[in-house]
């Protein structure tokens, strides 16, 4: 992974949605009477969106693209001959990429913090809590993206499913605005999904706007979803393999 340093940095910068939203909300807050929107001032928006950006960088998963490619090109076949589930190869490469990513990521967050006037929480426990939630969130996201990638056994549209799921993740995760800014019915739906707990909640922890109790509850929800997607992935994998063999590929 360290071989592709430039590429890693470019991919990091291309995930700009939260940065764009940050700038727009900061300008909005600065123009609003009292300098606030729903209790958020411009620097607080900066803190929240920089946190979402940081967390979303830790949650990046591209496994469905790779599965799509492997299944279509047949490069999955040699991997099936090995005694380990090919999933662990993908896990390893994702984790390795995160290690390469972390240093330039922290440098960039530092620069953006200095430019935007953001200020992160001083409570030490918020950092391990946010990191733990991000790790759980990554695992959940990895598993459901893996299941979507495996849809390539049946359809050529798995990439578009992935795009649509990304939209739901970005929306309910709070990439456009803190979840409290959404219409109430959206919030009521969102609490049943894993998305607010993997992206918005760790970001709120870093911004000093969430409690340890909320983090614990979020972790429990994520664990339940982790179990669900573990089973889903396993079923799709088993059924899909049978289909893959049947084509004679």
């Amino acid at each position: 992974m360290a071989e592709y340093r430039a590429e890693v940095v470019i991919w990091m910068l291309s995930g700009t949605l939260s940065l764009v939203m940050m700038l727009v909300w900061m300008a909005q807050a600065a123009a609003a009477p009292g300098g606030q929107i729903r209790g958020y001032s411009a620097p607080e928006f900066a803190t929240y969106f920089l946190s979402t950006w940081l967390v979303s960088q830790l949650l990046v998963v591209w496994v469905s693209h790779e599965l799509d490619f492997q299944i279509r090109q047949g490069t999955l076949s040699p991997q099936l001959l090995r005694p380990v589930d090919p999933m662990w190869l993908h896990v390893a490469s994702h984790v390795a990429e995160r290690l390469v990513r972390i240093v330039p990521l922290l440098v960039m967050v530092g620069v953006f913090t200095w430019l935007s006037g953001a200020s992160f929480t001083r409570e030490w426990w918020a950092y391990p809590a946010a990191l733990g939630l991000a790790a759980l969130g990554f695992s959940v996201r990895f598993l459901y993206e893996y299941a979507i990638g495996l849809l390539a056994f049946w359809t050529e549209s798995s990439a578009s499913f992935q795009e649509v799921v990304w939209l739901v993740y970005a929306a309910l995760g709070g990439m456009f605005a803190p979840l409290a800014f959404y219409p109430e019915w959206v919030q009521r739906v969102a609490v049943w999904t894993p998305f607010p707990y993997m992206l918005g909640l760790p970001a709120q922890l870093l911004a000093g706007k969430a409690t340890l109790a909320q983090a614990g509850r979020g972790a429990l929800v994520l664990l339940v979803w982790l179990a669900v997607f573990w089973v889903v992935r396993l079923i799709v994998w088993r059924v899909g393999l049978r289909k893959y063999g049947a084509v004679g590929a």
Partner: protein, 262 residues
Amino acid sequence: MRRYLRLVRIFVGATLSAQLEYRANFLGAVLASLGEVGVALLGISVLFGQPGVTQVGGWSFREALLVTGFFMLTEGVISVFIQPNMSKIAEAVRTGNMDFTLLKPIDAQFNVSTRNLNVLRFPDLLIGLGLIGYAASGLEVTSGGALAAAVLYGSAVVIVYCIYLGLSTTAFWFVKTQNVTELFSGVFGAARFPVAAFPVPVRFVLTFVLPVAFITTVPAQALTGALGGGLALASPLIAAALFLGTRLFWRYAVASYTSASS
């Protein structure tokens, strides 16, 4: 000229029949289009959904929706006409297929720019036009404004094409360029909002350093009649300069191309 028009017709026919072979892809393309319009609309509706917010950077909801419409339309133009061609340049350089393109008795830049088409993303164009139409129906639009918007949008498309071609042409040296175009689409994401919605220094960057403002905000302003003469003139000038620049850059790249095998 006649010959080139005939070639365009042949290219379109060829890609059409190649793409319609995979019907299942159609479902995927529709999903992707819906996803994109969803992101665009969600961003602006959450922004305007806050209590007390009626304007963003001096733009009303309808006016901002106009910008979103131009944004969707441009996403459509990119995914139907530009991206399918440009992504193939790097591949052709890597595999040596560029040799065949350069040997053909037609202009190579014309060939690489028009050969492919992604018809499946055609709905994006309709969604964009629909949004523009809907937003404009609630605003006062003169026929002069509409004409100016159409002309300025034309130069916006040229600007987008030139940026993409310029970035893809670097493939002659760097081979892997998919990442660079990805970087541009990241920046282009800012075009879903009027530039006035950004803090002043960012606004400056989006107008003069990376001409994103000319792609969506300027045509929308022309449509509502809020455009000053300076920006109206700047847009076609920038488009012409970029076109000339990328044309020279392309010629230079082709001249220094040494094929994949040598």
